[in-house]
């Protein structure tokens, strides 16, 4: 470890002034309006304090004045890159409160769109990560494929970003005709493109230099800070709510074959020919977090394929959305789902009326961004975007 990477080295001989630098809230690489106050000595970052709240919209408070069905659009705007997963989390928790089972077909439909949206979200994460490291091209390659997913979603629900598609009780409408073929075709097209992404970034020598060994987040620390999702799995902790979550959530994935993407005994579960882990990479560094996301894209593609078959085979309807005046039984419910960025939890307390008494969201990015100050200590200024980018945060979800 070189001197500059050594967090214990706090002073150089040349007495330079420490500088406080505001990175954000208007900065090209802070993914929205995150504000990082960096304490730097030259290029070396001595400390980083994330400041949040620039995108606070009182979503949770608003939730206490709206029926669960009405609050769905607000969940869209939390992680706006994975609205389907947000919708799903909220729908599931309301259904859990109501003990409302969704028909078989609806279950597969939800898996289908949620995993597609996971692909879209990870593609954005990959593209913007390239941008953070100064490579513009992967961004457009990623958005090109994401556009196709958005096209599919547009066919499903008419919206390209804020879908409000999965609602408590079911979905707003069944899939249109021919959609399954379109989706299958898209997966066909995406398959070879993933190799391009690996060539552009994952196995690029400069990319490896910039990410391997940078921002190492040990598994223990990740757990202590409550990190979840790819950030946690990138640190080697075997945790994925799709397998380990509550039955109310995991039952969604009953009958699906997938392996949790985590490095076990030095190996990732690989069913494809993907670039090997470079020698410089340390478990828990930026490269691993990135790599987990890239593998999850493929994992989600597999799940989507299975869901396509199961959906086509399933009979019946996709469930009926609850009415606006649907009385909610007094009680409370909490459920965490595996959203693309981590475990997204919704909490709901009701008093018997149609409107919840209390609504809370447990944001995955909020927990993930909290490690920034730990990871950025002693790194170089250029590592800050690399670290923040590898955490893949969305401020809409943090600030709510």
């Amino acid at each position: 470890m070189s001197i500059i990477n050594d967090p214990r080295v706090v002073e150089f001989n040349i007495r330079t002034d420490e500088m406080l630098i505001n990175m954000g809230p208007q900065h090209p690489s802070t993914h929205g309006v995150l504000r990082l106050v960096l304490r730097t000595d030259g290029e070396v970052v001595l400390g980083a304090a994330p400041h949040i709240g620039y995108l606070h919209r009182c979503a949770e408070k608003i939730g206490e004045n709206l029926a669960p069905r009405q609050w769905v659009p607000y969940t869209d705007r939390m992680d706006y890159l994975a609205s389907m997963n947000m919708n799903l989390g909220w729908a599931l928790v309301v259904e859990k409160l109501l003990q409302l089972e969704v028909p078989e077909k609806g279950r597969h439909l939800r898996v289908l769109v949620a995993e597609l949206n996971r692909i879209a979200s990870h593609l954005v994460a990959m593209g913007t990560y390239g941008l953070d490291l100064g490579s513009f091209t992967p961004f457009l390659y990623a958005f090109r494929e994401r556009e196709k997913i958005l096209d599919l979603f547009e066919q499903v629900c008419g919206a390209r970003l804020t879908y409000s598609y999965i609602v408590p009780g079911g979905v707003t409408g069944d899939l249109p005709q021919g959609w399954l073929q379109n989706c299958a075709q898209f997966l066909q097209e995406l398959e070879p493109v993933v190799d391009d992404y690996h060539a552009l970034l994952t196995s690029n020598a400069i990319f490896i230099k910039r990410t391997a060994g940078v921002g190492v987040l040990p598994g223990e620390m990740a757990v202590n800070y409550g990190c979840t999702g790819p950030v946690l799995r990138g640190s080697g902790i075997d945790q994925d709510l799709r397998r380990d979550g509550e039955p109310w959530y995991t039952s969604l994935y009953d009958g699906y074959q997938f392996a949790v993407i985590v490095q076990k005994e030095g190996h990732y579960p690989q069913d494809h020919d993907y670039p090997a882990v470079p020698a410089e990479a340390v478990l828990g560094d930026c490269w691993h977090r990135f790599y987990v996301r890239m593998l999850e894209v493929v994992q989600s593609m597999d799940i989507v394929r299975q869901a396509l078959d199961k959906y086509a085979a399933a009979a019946g309807d996709c469930g009926t959305p609850i009415k606006l005046n649907h009385k909610l039984p007094p009680g409370e419910a909490y459920l965490e789902t595996e959203a693309p960025k981590g475990q997204m939890g919704f909490y709901l307390v009701t008093d018997g009326s149609a409107i919840p008494w209390r609504v809370r969201a447990r944001s995955s990015c909020f927990a993930n961004v909290s490690v920034t100050s730990e990871l950025c200590r002693g790194c170089l200024l250029a590592d800050v975007p690399a670290i923040v980018g590898s955490l893949d945060i969305v401020l809409g979800e943090i600030d709510r």
Partner: protein, 213 residues
């Protein structure tokens, strides 16, 4: 048209570069902002390089640009930036110092200028006239001089071909060149040693505590 014909372009360029060099040198003297001083110094030295070109010393001129302006001054600017805290940014000399030094400087300047015009040989061009500049391109000669061969001391025939060998005792500037190379190496090592980054390490607990603040 007459004004064009009357213009001596050599004098014009000389005057231009000379004024730039002297003017910015004065600016260095009279500004108290250290960064501006560095900037003016750059321009002054650059203009001096122009004078060197005019005097036919191309190689020296380029050396001036490369080593002085491009190297030494960048180094200086680095130093300025490393130490440029607000209180030192403009340290003004005391007025008493100004008066004394201006008197001394003025006297020195007067003496120097008087002596510059005092020698007849300096004041006039030689009778044979100056050499055309095309024949004063000296980069090769300078290079040869540094490697130990003084080509300008060769005896020539009328056509300019070398006639005889140089005395073997004349090694040109080879020895100074070697010495200065070694000197430069020593100096660089020494400077790196002087200004090296001494690292003080704190214990792990202390470092965690310090970063919170």
């Amino acid at each position: 048209m007459t004004i064009w014909a009357a213009t001596d372009w050599y004098a014009f360029f000389f005057l231009l570069f000379a004024l730039l060099a002297c003017g910015f040198a004065a600016a260095v003297l009279f500004t108290s902002n250290i960064v501006r001083m560095a900037f003016y110094l750059t321009l002054s030295l650059g203009a001096t390089a122009g004078l060197f070109f005019l005097a036919g010393a191309e190689f020296v001129g380029v050396m001036q640009l490369m080593i002085y302006v491009g190297g030494t001054l960048v180094l200086l600017v680095f130093g300025v930036m490393l130490t440029a805290r607000a209180p030192f940014l403009s340290l003004r000399p005391r007025s008493g110092e100004w008066i004394v030094s201006l008197i001394a400087g003025g006297t020195l300047l007067f003496l120097l200028i008087a002596s510059a015009f005092g020698v007849r040989n300096w004041r006039t061009a030689s009778d044979s006239g100056p050499l055309p500049l095309a024949e004063a391109q000296t980069a090769t000669a300078v290079g040869a001089g540094l490697t130990g061969v003084r080509v300008d001391r060769l005896n020539r025939d009328a056509a300019g071909h070398a006639l005889s060998q140089l005395p073997h005792t004349d090694s040109g500037y080879l020895l100074p060149f070697v010495i200065v190379s070694v000197h430069l190496l020593v100096v660089l090592v020494g400077a790196a040693y002087l200004a090296r980054a001494k690292v003080r390490r704190r214990s792990a607990t202390e470092s965690t505590a310090s970063v919170e603040g």
